[in-house]
């Protein structure tokens, strides 16, 4: 009874015609399936399966470590190579040359210490006139004299090491002129 009712019900359902594109898609799928089935089949050689098996059993961490080691080694070799190339382009050569010339030795006299008694005289006066010599303006000049004395000592030391040269004597002239100027100012204050 129920089967009859079900079949009657199905018969009474409305009918629809599907869109043409649906059949086209089904048709192209069927063609593709047929084409795939017609493709030739090949058996791979044994070595392929062996290789795949080895790959599957390999330890990936070790492989990555080796890659890193190789990269570091390559960088190290590159650095060493660059350094070696750079150093191999560096060169140093020496040679000795002899010649003669004449110099004006007569004027290279060490005469800059002949008036040092003037500075000693100032020190003597300062021991008598302590108040004046303690004034800030006097102390500034004394600081200048001290700096000039240091400069003079540096030039004398250089002259001892490198010999008496015109350049040193010209510098000594400048220092001595400056020292004389400051000394005169200090005497004027006392």
């Amino acid at each position: 009874m129920s089967d009859k009712h079900l079949k009657d019900g199905l018969r009474r359902l409305p009918e629809y015609t599907p869109d043409g594109r649906v059949w086209e898609n089904i048709d192209s799928e069927l063609h593709l399936q047929t084409a795939i089935e017609q493709l030739p089949t090949y058996e791979p050689p044994e070595t392929i399966w062996e290789n795949i098996s080895t790959e599957l059993h390999a330890k990936p961490r070790v492989r990555r470590l080796w890659r890193r080691v190789a990269a570091v080694a390559a960088m190290f070799l590159l650095t060493i190579g660059t350094y070696w190339w750079t150093m191999s382009n560096d060169s140093i050569q020496e040679k000795i040359i002899y010649a003669t010339e004449t110099i004006d030795s007569g004027i290279f006299q060490e005469d800059w210490n002949t008036d040092e008694d003037g500075f000693q005289e100032l020190a003597k006066l300062c021991s008598q006139k302590v108040f004046v010599c303690k004034q800030p303006s006097f102390q500034i000049l004394k600081g200048e004299i001290d700096e000039l004395n240091d400069a003079k000592a540096s030039i004398e030391a250089a002259m001892k090491k490198y010999g008496k040269q015109a350049e040193f004597i010209l510098q000594m002239k400048d220092i001595e002129q400056e020292r004389s100027k400051v000394l005169k100012e200090m005497f004027a204050m006392i």
Binding site: T86, I103, A158, E167
Partner: protein, 298 residues
């Protein structure tokens, strides 16, 4: 009378002969030629003592160093002996090339008798940073465009056509610079400084010296602190810059366009502050204590 004239004549000849005494000397020179490859970042670092240093750029990608160590003495053996005391070193350490000369004397050895001197002729690529220290002697640098540092004492400095960062410190050694353009710092003590055609930014400290600056059109900032130093700034367009000027215990002379900008004008202190109403080119800030300031227009 004739005897007196004759005596004076002989005496004069004697004095002249003593003054013009010319002595033949042996000159022994050790010439060193060194060459270094250059890559970006390579720096030349020279420490000279009583050295004449000449540095200039060339268009090769390498560094050439010629060193002359010179010994002069009438006795050739002494000249040779003392030349061996004038030591030098050239060494590359990573990106730096170190060069130096010094006196190497063992304790108890006889004092140096010869006149000794070192000369350096250095050629570098324009972009090569150069750091020079010199104690006595002379330093000349031309055509560099990156970073130049010169620290010297008792040594004259002459530089020209320099761009980039420049740092110079000198004591008892004058500086002359032509066509400087960059960020420039100068510290000079007991030294005169002469700068011609300057562009860029300047920070200058000077004590016990003279400072002369000829500005170029591209001057951007000029900041001067001068103590017991006379300052002259010239070749200036008076209305095209901003000024903050001050002298203490010194005279201030400015172009007539700035005469009305004195904010203080006493015997002890003179101050000028001036901001142009239109766009201006350079900030000029100059403080002078115990010295005169003169600004001259074009």
């Amino acid at each position: 009378m004739r005897t007196v004239f004759l005596f004076i004549f002989i005496l004069s000849i004697g004095v002249l002969t003593a003054q013009e005494q010319r002595t033949p000397v042996n000159v022994v020179t050790k010439r060193v030629n060194a060459s270094f490859s250059y890559t970006n970042g390579t720096e030349v670092n020279l420490e000279g003592e009583n050295a004449q240093v000449f540095v200039e750029s060339w268009d090769k990608n390498s560094i050439s160093i010629e060193i002359e160590l010179i010994s002069k003495h009438p006795d050739k053996a002494i000249a040779e002996r003392d030349l061996n005391r004038l030591a030098y070193g050239t060494k590359r350490f990573k990106q730096k090339i170190f060069i130096r000369n010094y006196i190497s004397q063992e304790e108890g050895e006889a004092a140096t008798e010869a006149v000794l001197q070192a000369k350096y002729y250095i050629k570098v690529p324009e972009q090569c940073p150069v750091y020079l220290k010199n104690y006595f002697g002379l330093t000349q640098v031309k055509n560099l465009a990156n970073n130049l540092r010169i620290y010297s004492e008792f040594s004259t400095i002459a530089i020209e056509d320099i761009k980039g960062i420049v740092d110079m410190r000198t004591r008892f050694g004058d500086i002359t610079a032509n066509r400087l353009n960059g960020d420039v710092a100068i510290n000079a003590r007991r030294s005169d400084v002469f700068l011609y055609e300057v562009s860029g930014n300047y920070d200058i400290d000077s004590e016990y010296g003279k400072l002369e600056i000829m500005a170029a059109n591209e001057l951007i900032n000029l900041n001067i602190n001068a103590n017991k130093t006379d300052v002259l700034l010239y070749n200036i367009d008076p209305m095209k810059h901003q000024y903050a000027l001050q002298t203490q215990y010194g005279q201030m002379t400015v172009p007539e366009e700035l005469q009305y900008s004195f904010t203080e004008n006493t015997q002890q202190r003179r101050k000028v502050n001036f901001v142009p109403s239109t766009e201006y080119y350079a900030n000029i800030s100059i403080q002078v204590a115990f010295g005169d300031l003169v600004i001259k227009k074009k």
